[in-house]
Symmetry: C2
Subunit: 164 residues, 2 copies
Amino acid sequence: MDLAEAHIRKAGYGGFSFRDLAAEVGIKSASVHHHFPTKASMAAAVARRYRDRFFAAVARQPNESPEDAIATYRAAFRAALDQDGRMCLFGVLGAEAGVLSPELAEEIQSFFRRCIADLSQRIGGPAAEARAFHVMATLEGGMMLASAYRSIEAFDQAAASLTT
Amino acid sequence: MDLAEAHIRKAGYGGFSFRDLAAEVGIKSASVHHHFPTKASMAAAVARRYRDRFFAAVARQPNESPEDAIATYRAAFRAALDQDGRMCLFGVLGAEAGVLSPELAEEIQSFFRRCIADLSQRIGGPAAEARAFHVMATLEGGMMLASAYRSIEAFDQAAASLTT
DNA sequence: GTCTATAATTTGATAGAC
DNA sequence: GTCTATCAAATTATAGAC
């Protein structure tokens, strides 16, 4: 699953194959099928694991200000980029959502809905939801720019103004 | 090229094949190879055409304010989304830039460099470049969110606050 | 849990006729 | 410019032995 995640984040859903994963682990592709019946089911499992890790990382802090919440999200995205220089898993999959399996498409939409709902609540106020959309778009887009530029500075420049 | 562009914007580089394109046009895949020697060369040609169309659409207006320039970019992204509900070509490809051909990777980076340079100049002032990065990230991320949500409202919410 | 073996399909690409 | 024919490789997936 670690390898599958790395491949998806680097090259999208089509960027990993059971054979490649198996070879890198040192087993055969049939053995991978023993754990995940289909490619779509494995991608969905990887997505669920990524989602759980992500929401654990952005968990609400005590006595948190709206600016703190946004900074927490930004730091989580930045850490993912800093560790391995790769895109957000859901950012990659979201871009090709049009042709993925229904199970996976639902997983993607559900991730972003949960991000927006969580951020909106923690930001509060009248324009909270619009600001939540803005924050998520900027962070995802910033990761994409950093991926294209191969430089984390692109992310930092894009996301700097999110907090006042 | 129209069909190739549609497929890439919906599903990424791996989302189109010469056979599929040929079948949709009513010819054979060998005939497509007559026009484009390789898949990478065709994708690069599609990217160049998209780039030229994009920069024509965001051309500088006379007596333009910084807010006007940003609004022009936002309108161009929104129009692409509104017409066919698909991602920005370079947004999709940028997310999977890690495994594309060098020719294509260079085309992607060059597109974003040109966007940032153009926007920076039209915005002006001390923090112009950072604001240009911010605008591009928000627009690309907003398209991705709209793609995942299958709703243009996600884009509008994300990009509303870009202009004052 | 892992293997061998294999099926069925798709893919990118080429040679050469018309 | 388009075709037929074909290749070599890769892909997803399954059956059944160990």
